[in-house]
């Protein structure tokens, strides 16, 4: 079941693509990274994800798996005997991990993206307030899920760590642009500690985009066309 060539269609700057890369690293699964060019979509991508035409797409023995969190679960289930468990083992803990992962993608990320697009001080202030509300929820979620351990998943990084951690580079770029700390030691002390540990994890380090490089890239993609 776990045999067969593994390829991942993605892009270095995408937080969604980072998720399966961390998962594959955790399971020590070698894979070929097929980098998409920004602004265009390859034939392979369009064929492998005809519904959404989006990255990441995992190809395992040529069978496509789409949607980043779904791919992470697939990796955990397929290479279950290799490396640590990515999803928690207790059903309630699994439900909490899935609940917060869905919250991150559906609400929290929306606020982050709105910030990057926001124009004018008023709009930026409103989005920062929204983000800080979300961060407070996640700070509490971390305390509940981690139960005193270093990660959402306990002793090792897992599904929810990957889900939130994949946004850290973009979060740092946002902090630079705003000159405002979004994860700050006073308001979200646990998340700050967690963020540093996550970024230094050996499964994460090789695939976490460099802040400076990402900031340049962000400038390019969010640049307003000259009048």
């Amino acid at each position: 079941m776990s045999s067969g060539e593994v390829k991942l269609i993605g892009a270095w700057a995408s937080p969604f693509v980072m998720r399966p890369r961390v998962a594959l690293n955790l399971k020590s699964v070698p894979y070929e990274f097929l980098q998409e060019t920004f602004g265009s979509k390859s034939e392979l991508l369009l064929k492998s994800n005809p519904v959404h035409k989006k990255i990441p797409v995992l190809l395992h023995a040529d069978k496509p798996v789409c949607e980043s969190n779904i791919i992470v679960e697939y990796i955990d289930e397929t290479w279950s005997s290799s490396g640590p468990s990515i999803l928690p083992s207790h059903p309630y803990d699994r439900a909490m991990a899935r609940f917060w992962a869905a919250y991150i993608d559906e609400k929290w990320f929306g606020a982050l993206r709105n910030f990057l697009k926001a124009e004018g001080e008023e709009e930026k202030k409103a989005v920062i307030a929204q983000m800080e509300e979300g961060n407070a929820l996640l700070e509490k979620a971390f305390i509940d899920c981690s139960k005193g351990k270093p990660f959402f998943n306990g002793d090792n990084i897992g599904y929810l760590d990957i889900s939130l951690g994949s946004f850290l580079a973009w979060l740092r770029v946002t902090e630079l642009t705003a000159s405002h700390k979004l994860l700050d030691e006073a308001k979200t002390p646990s998340l700050c500690k967690w963020a540093e540990l996550f970024c230094n994890d050996p499964a994460v380090k090789p695939v976490m985009p460099e802040t400076a490089k990402l900031a340049e890239f962000a400038k390019k993609i969010f640049a307003k066309p000259q009048a």
Partner: protein
């Protein structure tokens, strides 16, 4: 009074006309899990609901042994993880990934597209109908050669897709526009007939006349055009 063991206490906060609430009832019934149903007034939310789902303040909420779980897809997976008889999700990781993908497609895309059909008129409505049909085609193709999305018996996608069978397709009568005509979607129509032959489904879906009356009343309240 007889002693009651509270180790298996299951309570569902829901609403009789909500597809998200009804799908939980299908899952619990399929597994033979006894539960207490608490009908919620979503126009005047109870303090219990607000306490149990502070993040979204929505139904359904499953409470198991005093612990609340929100978000219907998260609840469905929790039910499958906790009560292992009559599995809802398939065993094979690739099939599980496909099931999760289709569930997300239904809730995040098809549901949203279908709401636009209800909310718009004229050309905008026509465009919304087209968009919904394009998405439904993915479900149509998935059903070829199968009695249910789950194969020979009800599965995760069938449970989630009751939203299409008994909410979208029932609303068609009221809209005076066939979003899902049998000529374009013969497999979906065949599948709905199969659903209607299933005892669990028959028990758990809202009674048709009351349901249509409710939808019509809501549409009138929102000043939406009904046939």
């Amino acid at each position: 009074m007889a002693e009651r063991s509270d180790t298996e206490e299951v309570k569902l906060l829901g609403m009789w006309a909500s597809p998200f609430s009804r799908r939980i009832e299908v899952a619990l019934t399929l597994k033979g899990v006894p539960y207490e149903f608490s009908e919620q007034d979503i126009t005047n939310k109870s303090s219990l609901l607000l306490q149990l789902n502070p993040v979204y303040k929505m139904i359904p909420v499953l409470v198991h042994n005093g612990k609340p779980i929100s978000e219907s897809l998260v609840i469905l997976e929790y039910i499958d993880d906790t009560w292992r008889n009559n599995p809802i999700l398939p065993q094979d990781p690739c099939e599980r990934a496909t099931a999760r993908f289709l569930a997300k497609l239904i809730d995040q895309q098809i549901c949203v597209a279908a709401m636009k059909v209800v909310g718009k008129v004229g050309e905008e409505r026509d465009a919304a109908v087209e968009a919904t049909r394009d998405l439904l085609m993915f479900l149509e193709k998935e059903l070829v050669g199968k009695d249910f999305f789950g194969g020979r018996s009800l599965g995760f996608v069938d449970i989630v897709a009751t939203l299409v069978a008994f909410w979208l397709m029932r609303t068609e009568d009221l809209l005076g526009v066939k979003v899902v005509p049998v000529e374009l979607f013969p497999e979906i129509h065949r599948w709905v007939k199969n659903l209607l032959g299933n005892d669990v489904i028959k028990k758990c879906i809202p009674p048709k006349d009351e349901h249509l009356a409710y939808i019509r009343a809501r549409m009138d309240k929102l000043n939406l055009k009904s046939a």
